[in-house]
């Protein structure tokens, strides 16, 4: 079956621009997670959704970052006024429901480069 997909796979933008990163979870998965992976580091939690609502957004670094999941399926991570420090791979994962007993399936990521 289809896994988690993320678009675009690569995004290059100029400092100060706005970007949107999209995640399509596995069909039927109600929980969706966003992580950020900087070079040489492990993934860092940003936010997760259970259904349409953000259940935990404690990892969002500041108010330039925002994520939505309006219909409980596809999610978009939005970054305003991008900075060079935002350059990283943004990973999306989904699971049947939120909880440690449910495996998170990861997408291939979107590599964001801010010039």
């Amino acid at each position: 079956g289809a896994g988690v997909s993320q678009t675009p796979s690569n995004k290059v933008t100029e400092k100060g621009k706005y970007v949107e990163l999209r995640c399509d979870p596995i069909s039927g998965h109600t929980a969706l997670y966003w992580y950020r992976q900087s070079l040489g580091q492990g993934p860092e939690f940003l936010i997760y959704f259970q259904g349409t609502g953000a259940a935990d957004d404690s990892g969002l670094p500041n108010d330039r970052f925002f994520a939505v999941r309006p219909e409980g399926s596809v999610s978009t991570l939005k970054i305003q006024r991008t900075e060079r420090g935002d350059s990283a791979v943004y990973l999306c994962a989904s699971s049947l429901v939120a909880g440690a007993g449910y495996e998170q399936y990861f997408g291939p990521g979107t590599r964001l480069t801010v010039t």
Binding site: G42, P43, F45, Q50, A55, S58, L91, A100, P108
Partner: protein, 114 residues
């Protein structure tokens, strides 16, 4: 604060040799523990997980890991490494009180010599 430490940033082993990747966590209670593998251009794939019970857990691709509470460790092992095992490996922890958040170590890059 809860954390996961992978002391080895980079490890090189010969094909056919045994492998052990180290992972230490800091958390008062027994957390849920995971090992993921990330190959170039691929998403993270779950190798194995420990929740409770038998402290030696078996995973996919011939990997196993042992939970040692006294050492706060969850080391990953494989008796005989294959060239295709070259990848980056991440240990992660999930507290029972956090239903969504995985906390990852910084990763260990495995290089396999022919």
């Amino acid at each position: 604060a809860q954390s996961v430490t992978q002391p080895d940033i980079h490890i090189t082993v010969s094909e056919g040799a045994s492998l052990e990747l180290r992972c230490n966590y800091s958390y008062g209670a027994t957390p849920y523990l995971f090992w993921y593998v990330q190959s170039p251009g691929q998403g993270l794939q779950l190798l194995l997980k420990y929740f409770s019970g038998d402290t030696l857990v078996q995973g996919i691709k011939g990997f196993e890991a042992e939970f040692k509470r006294s050492q706060s460790s969850f080391n990953l092992r494989k008796p005989s490494v294959h060239w295709s095992d070259a990848a980056e490996y991440f240990c992660a922890v999930w507290r029972s009180s956090n239903t969504g958040k995985l906390i990852f170590g910084q990763g260990t890059t495995l290089q396999v010599k022919p």
